[in-house]
Symmetry: C2
Subunit: 317 residues, 2 copies
Amino acid sequence: MARKSEQLIIVGSIAFDDLDMPSGEHRNVLGGAATYAALAASLLARGNVRVVGVVGTDFPEEILGDLRGRGIDTSGVERAAGRTFRWHGRYSSDLASRTTIDTQLNVFADFAPKVREEHCSTPFVLLGNIHPELQVRVVGQMRGPKLVAADTMNFWIEREPASLAKMLAKIDLLIINDEEARQLSGIHNLVRAAADIRKRGPKSLVIKRGEFGALLFDEEGAFFVPAYPLEDVHDPTGAGDSFAGGLMGYLASHGEASPIALRQSMFFAAALGSFCVEGIGPSRLLAIDRSDLAGRIAAFARLVNYGGSLFLPASHG
Amino acid sequence: MARKSEQLIIVGSIAFDDLDMPSGEHRNVLGGAATYAALAASLLARGNVRVVGVVGTDFPEEILGDLRGRGIDTSGVERAAGRTFRWHGRYSSDLASRTTIDTQLNVFADFAPKVREEHCSTPFVLLGNIHPELQVRVVGQMRGPKLVAADTMNFWIEREPASLAKMLAKIDLLIINDEEARQLSGIHNLVRAAADIRKRGPKSLVIKRGEFGALLFDEEGAFFVPAYPLEDVHDPTGAGDSFAGGLMGYLASHGEASPIALRQSMFFAAALGSFCVEGIGPSRLLAIDRSDLAGRIAAFARLVNYGGSLFLPASHG
């Protein structure tokens, strides 16, 4: 059923992170939503991934060269005067929660994403977590996209509800976590929250739950994918972005976003999220290849394989 | 592949619960692990479910009659002088945690389960959460069981490690929740915890995670079943016991405990757990029939249906 593979454009942050992990402190780690999403997507849609972002004068050209070496088009990455976006976070000992120590937006503060003319017809669009007004403007630049997906966060849900409502009305797929779904809808129960959010625009909604997997709600109903049970988790940074990048990379490589393709994409999303957390920053994403990914997908298939049939046993009473 | 259906014997508590729910207070609700497990199992293995337990002189004969009317053999339920086991619990507003207000063991304090001679050859055995020494004694009474499953709790893990170790060495399948798995193994990561626990005896381990689903670890590897995403959750009491009863009822009705049957049983377990939480106490389990169960199983099948194939898209880079 696979059609012609298509292009994917990813808009979002490119950053350096300082990560205080229980295992030690890590400084100047390559980060940002667009970075993680593009690295994940490139394992599925190599040569078909375009990034729109901004870096400062301090950002090494070699890193952009490395991304290009992975088949990622970085011609949409603008270099602005000033420093690159920096984030400093500290994780709890069980990695279940994190605190922001410092955020320096730097050149990201004035980020106004411009899609290059030759990229405006990209059929698959992933809008990372930026001001919803900017997300709306990006959608306005695109010509006839097949699927527009977006992320957002508590900050915008609290402070920019009007802009967020405009954004939701313009996208096909929202990819957020469970706390964001609850906050956005004001509803604790996720099934009801999903129904509420889908009424606001996106016909499909993915709710990420970290180590507890992810749920998809669309016109076909609910679908669930587990998180891969890992023995070693080192750093959750970027896992959600890798998930979104894997999901969109799979759909772009299939050239379609049918309900069944969307369900299959959830496994590739979860697989890339699972690799991401196995290393500090994007180190594991940078180390794996397509055969590693194929191996994890096979392991996922075993994790959910029940033989394909579920019948009520005959009654004997 | 279904073989001849077999008998299941369930040993555990029969109780009255006082439940302080966010929705209101409920008094003298029928409860106990054996009760929930037997009600769940009887929907799958009607006429093949035997219960071993104890009730006091205050326990209405009509309730035992109702259980018999559901094809549950209550001849192993002993009536002792004194009052029935009573538990009083209070749930948090989101139902995610609960506090015990009062526990009155009453006749359950001296419970020494005796398996009736004609029940000693029952091939499927579910040992509810009682003193591990008593669980060991029940296993000692059984003749050549096909599968012995057991539950336990933090109380025994803390206070009776030696008895618990003896019990673990005698069972095939342990069914516990994630916190119990962590406490029992002393290991936070569930994959490592599972490997540790399986070395102590049970070749198969099910780790229940409430609304986050359940994991099975056996010689074939890991398997995951989601919790059904519900719009209305009223009372988690007994959900874990309904899960275990559904799982064992499915296996008994199939007459085998192969890896694939065990994987399928996880859906029936999760389905019965999902019904349980939809009502106060066992009210929903008492209200549903086999067609309700078949409907939920079909919904589960949709929840995990990704078309059966997961292939890495061709590379174009």
